[in-house]
């Protein structure tokens, strides 16, 4: 799966979770999309199950994922680790 299609899928996942029609890579998860802690857990779990990787404890620090593009970067990084 390419980086471009990852971005598209992640945007779709976050849009669905936050019930929004449009999401951009620059959107901030908390300030712009109002993602609360429960939705954050759902997002992380959905990413693991959709892209077949496991998150480490370090990945779970709330400040680590500020914007949608951070989520895309995390998925890319994890996918690379899985494919090695």
């Amino acid at each position: 799966m390419s980086t471009v299609s990852h971005s598209v899928d992640i945007l779709k996942i976050i849009a669905d979770l936050t019930k929004r029609k449009q999401i951009s890579l620059e959107d901030r998860l908390v300030e712009d999309l109002y993602i609360d802690s429960i939705t954050y857990l759902e997002l992380l779990s959905f990413l693991e199950e959709t892209f077949f990787f496991e998150l480490d404890l370090d990945d779970l620090e709330p400040g680590k994922l500020q914007k949608v593009q951070d989520v895309v970067a995390l998925v890319e990084q994890k996918r690379k680790t899985v494919s090695l």
Binding site: S45, F46, P62
Partner: protein, 373 residues
């Protein structure tokens, strides 16, 4: 470097309590001392590392030793994520609805009726609560022959109390979904969660050992002993080789997973009133108050039911104002039990131990032969 070695290194570098264990040669995880609530409370400043805002809570656990718990946002998130993933294995969908049962006087009709309506009208995917509350709700539904048509419901989850075979059977019969168990501590949340085979599988974010509580040496595999837990998540206060006071054994299943079996408990402790029984877990609402008493000098306590109308708060340590404790307990009993009881407060040298587990329970119930006014 494995997780335990990595944790050991971090502890020695960061925590004053563990710095003393830095020797010239490398230190093994099993060289580190056992810890418990009393030790951590006494030397709190050597264990605590605060970074930013923390969430506070209190527990006396099941041994009447009050403890102040703290968790950073990061720790809460990691602990919650771990629990969430266990529930996902039981089919919990995204955007789910769960029902949490209170452990207030659930024997009362209006409370049982309220929760039954919630189950019927809100159609939760999961119902969670203490074993006694789940059991009371199931009996109420059964007794009133209420038809549950909740197609969303996937499982029932117990927490905070031991779950008996009878309770599992009744709850499963009424709700027609699996009953899953969750064993943990307020200090560090999940230690083990029921897996698809119905066994309590140890969570990947903890390391569990079993020790002989008298010799403090490791028990053999499959031998019962005291459960000692190490959390890989908790860093605000590290819980490393932390004695739980609970009895269990560990065995490996065919898939190489560690399975925890808790020592069978005959029954939960109940407060016997003239017209009904109330589960003693209701005293958890006073955890914060009991912790405040440690500032006065109480190190451990126990509530003993002496008759249908008498409760005695027994403690080890010192207290300036016994009437303050009597007043608080009186108010609590009136509001939470809907009953009047005579409350006494007594300093003792030793508390009552369970004859089988050796544990000091928070509540000692009335023996059957002594039910009298």
């Amino acid at each position: 470097m494995n997780k335990l070695d990595s944790l050991t290194k971090e502890l020695i570098l960061k925590y004053p309590f563990y710095k003393d264990y830095a020797k010239g040669a490398s230190v093994s995880f099993f060289d580190l001392p056992l810890t418990d609530k009393k030790l951590i409370t006494m030397r709190r400043n050597e264990f605590e590392i605060l970074k930013g805002e923390v969430n506070e809570s209190y527990t006396s656990g099941s041994t009447g030793t009050p403890f102040h718990c703290i968790k950073s946002k990061e720790e809460q998130l990691s602990l919650a994520f771990s629990l969430y993933k266990h529930r996902r294995k039981w089919g919990l969908p995204f955007k789910n609805h769960s029902l949490l049962l209170s452990n207030r006087v659930l024997e009362e009709e209006h409370a049982l009726s309220h929760y039954t309506k919630q189950v019927v009208n809100k159609e939760p995917h999961m119902i969670q609560g203490r074993a006694s509350a789940l059991y009371q709700l199931a009996l109420y539904i059964q007794r009133n022959e209420i038809q549950l048509k909740n197609e969303n419901l996937l499982f029932i989850q117990n927490w905070g109390e031991p779950l008996s075979e009878k309770q599992i059977r009744v709850v499963q019969e009424v709700f027609d979904v699996p009953v899953v168990d969750y064993y943990g501590l307020e200090e560090l949340w999940c230690i083990a969660f029921t897996n698809e085979d119905g066994d309590l599988e140890i969570d990947e974010h903890v390391h569990v050992e079993i020790i002989n509580p008298e010799t403090l040496k490791a028990a053999s595999e499959g031998e019962y002993g005291e459960i000692v837990v190490t959390s890989f998540i908790m860093k605000s206060i590290p819980f490393v080789r932390y004695r739980t006071g609970d009895i269990g054994k560990i065995e490996e299943n065919k898939q190489g997973k560690k399975i925890l079996t808790l020592f069978p408990i005959r029954h939960s402790h109940v407060i016997k009133l003239k017209d009904r029984n109330v589960n003693a877990s209701i005293f958890r609402y006073l955890d914060s108050f009991f912790f405040q008493l440690t500032n006065q000098g109480i190190t451990q306590y126990q509530i003993v039911q002496q008759s249908l109308i008498e409760l005695c708060f027994q403690y080890i340590g010192t207290v300036k104002d016994k009437t303050f404790i009597e007043k608080k307990l009186n108010e609590f009993v009136r509001s939470h039990l809907g009953s009047e009881m005579r409350i006494s407060v007594q300093e003792v040298d030793e508390l009552v131990h369970d004859p089988i587990s050796g544990k000091t329970h928070v509540f000692i119930e009335l023996p059957h032969e002594e039910i009298s006014v």
